[in-house]
Amino acid sequence: MMSFSFNIFRVGISFVMMCVFYKSAVDSLSELSPQKYFSTLQPGKASLAYFCQADSPRTSVFLEELNEAVKPLQDYGISVAKVNCVKEETSRYCGKEKDLVRAYLFRGNILLREFPTDTLFDVNAIVAHVLFTEDIENAHLYFFHCKQVLDLTEQCRRTLMEPPLTTLNIHRFIKTMEAPLLTEVAEDPQQVSTVHLQLGLPLVFIVSQQATYEADRRTAEWVAWRLLGKAGVLLLLRDSLEVDIPLHANVVFRRAEEGVPVEFLVLHDIDLIISRVESNMHIEEIQEDGDEDMGSPDMDIQDDEVAETVYRDRKRRLPLELTVELTEETFNATVVASDSIVLFYAGWQAVSMAFLQSYIDLAIKLKGTSSMLLTRVNCADWPDLCTKQNVTEFPVVKMYKEGKSPVSYPGMLGTEDLLKFIQLNRISCPVNITSVQEAEEYLSGELYKDLISYSSVSVLGLFSPNMTTAKEDFTEAGNYLKGCVITGIYSEDDVLILSHKYAATLPALLLARHKEGEIESIPLANSPAQDIVQIITDALLETFPEITVENLPIYLRLQKPLFILFSDGSINPQYKKAILMLVNEKHLDSLTPCWLNLKNTPVGRGILEAYFDALPPLPLLVMVNLHSGGQVFAFPSDQAITEQNLLLWLKKLEAGLESHITILPAQEWKPPLPAYDFLSMMDAAASHHPTRKDPECAKETDAQENEKKHEDKSAFRKEPIETLRIKHWNRSNLFKEGGKSFKHDNKEL
């Protein structure tokens, strides 16, 4: 017995079919051969055909259900047929395997859809699937409750199906329509089982007592009508119940999910019960949404490594007292009274706070040994002071020395580099050397023994006493390089002793490389200060440096491909020798030869991983064309690193005979994640109200289309979540929200 009918309300037109009762399967399933079947198809008419091998026994249950679907589908003008695939006629719909049986929906001769029979598990599913395919997107589905109506002139009660018209939803909807409206139970709510639970719908128990049974039943029926299709409603008879339920609880709520304990509630308003169920539904929807979102990451998760690490460290107390905190009142007096390093930072800024830790580490290192006062200014507290000191970004380190204008620290924001800067600033640069003997001590590194670990090179400018301009230029350059390298100046009458000894034509520079124990002389013919700076900085570059995190940027400035030897530990002297030979023979002039010690620079492993699929055995030589093309070439690991082999390889590289092992990605750095699209959310909210038309809107959208592909998608999905989330939140405040009315009366007309 079918006790329902579908009514489809299309936009504009509505054709309501007030079907009342009809006898079961008057029209039975027609059985045809494929050829016959296809000849019956009429243009514009839909037809559902089930193709089966003759005598297939497994299909009998399905056939019964299909038989049941004939009548309701016919009501929509959809014919149903069983097509027997006989041997004589081959149809591609018949399939080859015996088991493979399928149903097809045609309109005219056009195949609309193919259904595996397991999706058509019962009559409801068949009807729902077929109708759903028949484009009912703009339709509303009503269930007319005409069973109870005895007088045909009376209108049937009807229920609108609210969820989207998907097959599963229609199936679930019809199932619940058929279930009893209200069930009385007297057992543990946790044990009760109804069709609703199987359909993933929650159960609502209205707790009743004998004394108020009639009223409770009326309430429960009312609730049941309101929740039809959304939850099962049961009347729980407390008096005949064996399990204890809380004294004041009048509603028991049980979710469909297994293992979730039932909730005992005290609700004094039917609307609250309804909203309880509905908010629960929304959570489910969110979860469904969440499933779809799998893989699209949470925008609220920190992906900035500096911000995250600083945040994780927020509860650790730093020994800030090792540095002097300055204020607007104390700043001037302090920096005048003693030579000071000032860190300008902002307490809310992660980069500042990360550096503050290094700064404190520096203070620990220097504790009691330095004449330099380490101070700090939190610009979040003293903006005027920072502005006055020309600090508009954070963090900034400045050195204040008596009688001199403050110097900004230009180096890496780390303990070691700042320490070097402070130490090298202990002496004035260029330092005035007054005797040949002192000059020799200076060049040998004896004079500033404790400083040469910070400056591997000492620079000495040699001038005749009358070379005033040259001396000024050099002094300027020395000043500029202060904190970075030690410079000295010698211009006594006996300067020729030195110039002869080191074969330098005055004016000249002597460069003492302490590690190598070499002294090199460079002529300085009328070089302006800027050029002198350049000469010195160039001289500071090593011919075959160990590349580190700290020094890589200097070598990158040369804009040459890197020729890197990766070594796990110190470099093999043989290799070094081979490469230095190549350098000396000028074979590596177009490259920056260097080596990387994985012990000192473990991140080198990350680099090798990027170059090779598996971490290769070390040592390993690669050529990285960073600045043009990004190709990475690897020196064959089966060859020995000898001068000859390298030279051969370089020749091949030059001739384009070597193929790269990888090319470094050249993409720009894009936003790691999308942002909230508030504009769309605002638009969506505005369009819910009948509001002004925004003439810009269309134009803007076009213009943004390209950029916003990603965002639009997320915003589209986000808007419903938005409103849902608010409801979700309300749910937790259910008891405070008594006044809120939920209007869903349209379900019952």
Binding site: G414, Y676, R692
Partner: protein, 684 residues
């Protein structure tokens, strides 16, 4: 209208009018010998006039301030009548940040001298008007501002001259007949003419400006007060305890400032009468249009309220005039009053300005303000700017432009505009690499007072440089002039811009709004656009909007529709520095507008990127590559490894199979450190 910050300098108009006639003679005489010239003239040494004088002085400009009285701030010598300013003098905020603290100091003018903060002049939260007079006097003296006291300008005319900056000079003639020629004229005379409503019997009404302030004079009286602003309530407050009852009559319903978020509406400190009315203590509020009313005096000298309409019925004696209660015996105001007091606010004094200046009234709100553009320049004559309280037509009932704590910033904006217009000094700005963008915005929204006070009027502007590699930051630009930004500031906006404004929620403020409703605050970052309390809003435009777009922007939008918009979620403490709640969503917004990655990285990460990518994220480019990488400490590195954002490379040879699927391994990014580097190869 509050008195608090109002700069009403000029006294009753009578005096001025007297002299308005005769200077015409002197004027002619003055023109023959060229009058002394000033580039800038300021009318009025009230707070706005002094504030402008300060900026002119600091810039080394040729200027003079003309003041009628012998000392600055003469308005405050008389008003408010009951001497209590309702502009807060919050001396403690728990913060040292001077700029932030100005958010809660509604009385100080801007200067470089921290001694010239109002907190040094009064300890009272609602200070005495006398302290304001003292403060303004000190401000003028200590900064050595050029104020010509005892100089009443009686007449202002326009003199066309091609040499002049604006094609004309402003000729100011004082009461002694001396003329002054000005290139630019600032009118900072406040609102000085009491607003009078004309109705039969209005002659029986006492004005706020002259009514007794001694409660003894009201003992046992029935008092009717006309008006519903702060002056009306202030007057009522003073006599609440001694009268029989007070009735308060006005056209519109009471507007409570805590509901409208407009400081000029009725402040809670004055609202005692609302309390007694609603608690049935005989006092009451009534709504009616005053122009329909009439007041008649009976033989005992008591006043009766009737309708103008009844008086028109014929010539009747006081006792025979029809009263409303004759027809409606329960008419509310059927009782006789001992006093009727008018507290209807003030209007701008137009009388001294010659017609040629075309300084007209009639903004959209009322006639009380002269008509000005969003740049505070008169619509009638170029080079004439209205400052201070009189400039409030720009943001009347919206923001704080009519009060010291607001117009001290709009005055600065006008000064900056003129520095560019006449002296080729571009609008001050700072330039930064793009990696500093998030920080620059976070800093300003957390401390800037101008943005906070003048929300919806002054906004910060970020002008992007080519390829969005750097930006210029401009503070407190009058946002309604956005389309003219390039000409006003001398800065170029060729590559897109951000505008940073502060806003209340769209539908939050209003006289009938319940601002205490449940759920009024928003806590989740994705709901930020629904924030109700004042919060930062950032607009992104790919191109500078046009004048048309600004003028015809959607209703209730502060600016034209942007390409994208971001709201930083409202914060109970107005502290928008939470790393995840505030800064992270802001960064994501900026990143998506600029299509780049604005994260910060440790030097080691930059090192890795430098050797494994052809391009670097801006932070590495602008820091690490310039030898200014962030090294970090061992502790931080450990946190990084724990969080999965950093890798521990000392663990030899182990690949991170497990870390590759982290939420951050987005295929869109070329390779943040969490991402397995081999994923890049797939893209090759």
């Amino acid at each position: 209208m509050g008195f608090s910050a109002a700069a009403r300098l000029w006294g009753p108009p009578g005096l001025l009018l007297t002299f308005a006639f005769h200077p015409a003679l002197c004027l002619r005489a003055a023109q023959t010998s060229a009058p002394p010239h000033r580039d800038y003239c300021v009318l009025g040494a009230g707070p706005a006039g002094l504030q402008m004088a300060y900026f002119l002085q600091r810039a080394g400009r040729d200027y003079a301030v003309f003041e009628r009285a012998p000392r600055p701030g003469s308005f405050f010598t008389r008003y408010p009548r009951h001497r209590k300013l309702i502009s807060i003098n919050k001396r403690h905020t728990g913060k040292a940040n001077a700029e932030f603290n100005l958010r809660h100091d509604w009385n100080s003018l801007l200067s470089h001298d921290p001694g010239l903060l109002f907190r040094h002049y009064s300890r009272a939260y609602f200070p005495d008007a006398g302290d304001m007079v003292r403060y303004l006097g000190d401000f003028a003296d200590r900064l050595g501002l050029h104020v010509l006291y005892n100089t009443t300008i009686a007449h202002v005319t326009l003199h066309k001259d091609r040499q002049a900056w604006n094609g004309h000079y402003f000729i100011l003639t004082d009461r002694k007949g001396h003329a002054h020629r000005c290139g630019v004229l600032f009118v900072a005379t406040g609102l000085s003419v009491p607003n009078q409503v004309d109705f039969p019997g209005s002659e029986y009404v006492e004005g706020y400006e002259s009514v007794s302030v001694d409660p003894k004079d009201f003992e046992g009286q029935n008092v009717l007060i006309l008006g519903r602003g702060n002056s009306a309530f202030e007057t009522a407050e003073n006599i609440l305890g001694v009268t029989n009852f007070i009735h308060m009559l006005s056209r519109s319903r009471v507007r409570l400032s805590w509901a409208t978020h407009y400081v000029g509406d009725l402040r809670a400190i004055n609202n005692g009468l609302l309390d007694t009315y609603q608690l049935k203590s005989l006092d009451g509020l009534l709504e009616s249009d005053l122009t329909d009313l009439a007041v008649v005096k009976d033989r005992e000298g008591k006043f009766h309220v009737t309708l103008k309409f009844f008086l028109e019925e014929g010539n009747q004696s006081a006792d025979t005039i029809t009263l409303p209660q004759d027809d409606n015996d329960n008419f509310a105001m059927r009782v006789a009053y001992d006093r009727v007091i008018r507290c209807l606010g003030w209007n701008f004094d137009f009388s001294i300005f010659n017609e040629s200046l075309r300084l007209s009234s009639g903004g959209e709100f009322s006639k009380k303000y002269p008509l000005v553009k969003a740049s505070y320049e008169s619509k009638g004559s170029r080079g004439l700017f209205v400052l201070g309280t009189a400039s409030h037509s720009v943001d009347y009932r919206k923001s704080a432009g009519g009060f010291i704590h607001g117009f001290r910033y709009t005055v600065r904006a006008v000064h900056r505009l003129l520095e560019h217009r006449h002296h080729d000094v571009a609008w001050p700005s700072t330039q930064h690499p793009i990696s500093q963008l998030t920080s620059s915005i976070v800093r300003r929204v957390n401390e800037a007072s101008g943005l906070y006070q003048m929300f919806g009027v002054l906004a910060d502007v970020v002008l992007l440089k080519e390829n969005a590699a750097a930006f210029e930051y401009l503070e407190e630009f009058p946002m309604q002039m956005l389309a003219q930004l390039e000409t006003i500031t001398g800065r170029k906006a060729r590559h897109g811009l951000f505008v940073i404004n502060m806003e209340y929620g769209r539908n939050f403020s209003g006289p009938d709004k319940d601002v205490f409703f449940y759920d009024r605050s928003v806590g989740h970052t994705e709901d930020a656009w629904q924030s109700n309390f004042l919060h930062p809003v950032i607009y992104y435009y790919r191109h500078l909007p046009t004048e048309q777009e600004v003028r015809f922007r959607p209703a209730d939008w502060a600016l034209p529709r942007p390409t994208a918009i971001h709201h930083i979620v409202e914060d109970f403490l107005t502290d928008w520095t939470a790393p995840v709640g505030h800064i992270l969503p802001l960064r994501r917004f900026l990143e998506n507008c600029l299509d780049t990655d604005l994260r910060s990285f440790y030097a080691e990460s930059c090192f890795l990127f430098a050797l494994t990518h052809q391009k670097l994220p801006p932070f590495c480019q602008q820091g690490y590559l310039r030898m200014q990488g962030l090294v970090g400490t061992e502790t931080l590195r450990r946190h990084g490894v724990e969080s999965g954002l950093l890798r521990d490379y000392t663990i030899v040879g182990r690949r991170r199979e497990d870390q590759g699927q982290g939420p951050l391994s987005s295929s869109r990014a070329p390779g943040p450190p969490v991402q397995p580097l081999d994923s890049n190869k797939e893209e090759l």
